[in-house]
């Protein structure tokens, strides 16, 4: 099989930079990381300098994702040799045990980290991941709540908790987690948009109106967020079609929905330029607008 550098005509520096970008963006493209990383390690280790240690870590985790225990083991040994007694390396050893489904051994590994350092957040979060992997959602939720009482600023944890709640269909609590995230990240359009989706799913007129407001807010923060645009259309349409609303509210929401439809139409035309599939989507959007006029009457 041809090497990555041959197939894509890239230099080892470009491969190293790609790995860094994936690290920074927290991409889980494990197969690619293994392909690029393994070649870098095998062919260009001497050129990487101190970067090699973080690359070993990144490649090890990706290798676990791809069931490449051979590669994961190699990376782990290198790291153990370079950083004996390191908590960070111990955690990686724990992750390997998790990948092998040796959850009890992994848990013991994390407990030993926590004995030396009770504030080690990484080890605590791994223990919660084990609960998740075992399908023990209720326990995972409970532990994560306890964790967040202590480490109230951990965004990753709040987001994880919101997902756990959504999977349990506990939308009220999921909304609460997203509210925490929106408070500390007021410019993040993704949190706004996810909050709006949760509110919409909860249902009821009040929640629909809230969802519409937050879809609109997400759009203000990023006017290319298609989910927010579609969400604005859907929530406004549902509100307009609701028999409980008065004429003023209905009229306003019909306007919002019509505006959204036009924006959606424009977005598709910009993207589509006449491809068959996009023609159908444009048609669907036009049908949406037509159905709007029916609810208006």
């Amino acid at each position: 099989m041809a090497s990555v550098s041959e197939m894509y005509d890239v230099t080892w520096e470009e491969m190293r930079d790609k790995l860094r970008k994936w690290r920074e963006d927290n991409h889980r493209n494990s197969e690619q990381i293994v392909d690029v990383g393994e070649e870098l390690i095998n062919e260009h280790a001497s050129k990487l300098g101190d970067d090699i240690w973080i690359i070993y870590e990144q490649v090890m985790i990706a290798a676990l994702d791809c069931s490449r225990d051979d590669l994961a083991w190699t990376c782990l040994q290198e790291l153990k040799r370079q950083f004996p007694g390191s908590q960070r390396v111990k955690r990686l050893a724990g992750m390997r045990l998790e990948a092998l489904e040796k959850y009890e051994d992994a848990s013991k590994q994390y407990d030993s980290i926590l004995q030396d350092d009770p504030t080690n957040t990484a080890a605590r979060k791994r223990k919660i991941s084990i609960l998740k992997a075992q399908g023990k959602s209720a326990e995972a939720i409970r532990e994560l709540n306890e964790y967040l009482e202590q480490f109230v600023g951990d965004q990753e944890a709040w987001h994880e908790l919101s997902e756990l709640y959504i999977n349990e269909h506990d939308y009220g609590k999921a909304a609460f987690c997203l509210e925490e995230l929106m408070m500390t990240n007021p410019h993040n359009h993704l949190y706004c948009e996810q909050y709006a989706e949760v509110k919409y799913t909860q249902g009821g007129l009040e929640n629909l109106e809230l969802s519409r407001k937050y879809f609109a807010q997400a759009l203000k923060l990023n006017n290319r967020n298609m989910r927010a645009l579609f969400g604005l259309y859907m929530s406004a349409s549902h509100i307009a079609a609701c028999p409980k609303v008065n004429a003023t509210v209905k009229k306003a929401n019909v306007k919002y929905a019509a505006w959204a439809t036009n924006q959606i139409n424009r977005a598709y035309q910009l993207a589509g330029r006449g491809t068959k599939e996009n023609k159908c989507s444009v048609k669907a959007v036009e049908e949406m607008l037509e159905s709007m006029q029916i609810t208006m009457s």
Binding site: M226, F230, E277, C280, S281
Partner: protein
């Protein structure tokens, strides 16, 4: 008498490619069949052929708005192509968990409202291999508001040998890297959820 469901290679292939693209996530999608012209007298003997698969989402499946958008748009696309939404598939986040959950049952029921013979399909990831030596689906029918599991074997495919061979070949070739689901489409409207390139690859290998 329950109409049996059959899958074409293209439908099966794209389902598995979707699951393979996101091994760490739950994934779901729709199956479409050709619209029957009129009900024949012996229609109970003609199986429903699911000719294509539309991958929908990966990750969090339990939120409503984008699902409603997808169902609306795909419904229109179906009408244009004389298709009908005939089924729903889901692969859960945890490998060992292949029972239908609330999301699967809700979406399945919604589809069954418009198509009484709708099938709900769960992908069994524990048996998912590159070789694809056996069908890894569990097919559920809607019976009196409950979902009953039915046996899935080579009979559930238009041509199991072809499906096995082609799905395996596309997995080896990592075609799943270019598979587009509705989530990808929402990220960039130019991403085509009908997956014409993969359809071509399937035809090419037939």
């Amino acid at each position: 008498m329950r109409m049996s469901i059959k899958l074409t290679t293209q439908a099966y292939c794209k389902m598995l490619l979707h699951a393979a693209k996101y091994p760490h996530c739950a994934v779901n999608g729709l199956l479409v069949a050709e619209k029957q012209k009129e009900k024949k007298k012996d229609s109970h003997s003609t199986p429903i052929l699911c000719v294509d698969c539309i991958p929908l989402f990966h990750g969090t499946l339990a939120l409503a708005p984008m699902l409603e958008v997808a169902l609306t748009l795909i419904d229109t696309w179906c009408k244009e192509n004389k298709y009908v939404i005939a089924g729903y598939y889901q692969a859960n986040e945890r490998t060992k968990d292949f029972r239908p959950n609330q999301v699967a049952e809700k979406v399945g029921a919604r589809i069954a409202e418009n198509f009484s013979e709708a099938a709900m399909i769960m992908v069994d990831s524990t048996r998912f291999t590159m070789g694809c030596y056996e069908p890894i689906l569990a097919i559920y029918d809607h019976h009196e508001n409950k979902w009953k599991c039915r046996d899935c074997n080579a009979d559930c495919f238009e041509d199991w040998c072809e499906a096995q061979k082609i799905t395996s070949a596309l997995l080896e070739g990592r075609s799943y890297e270019s598979l587009i689901d509705f989530d990808n489409h929402l990220d960039d409207l130019r991403n085509d959820w009908t997956n014409p390139e993969i359809n071509k690859s399937v035809l090419h290998l037939c």
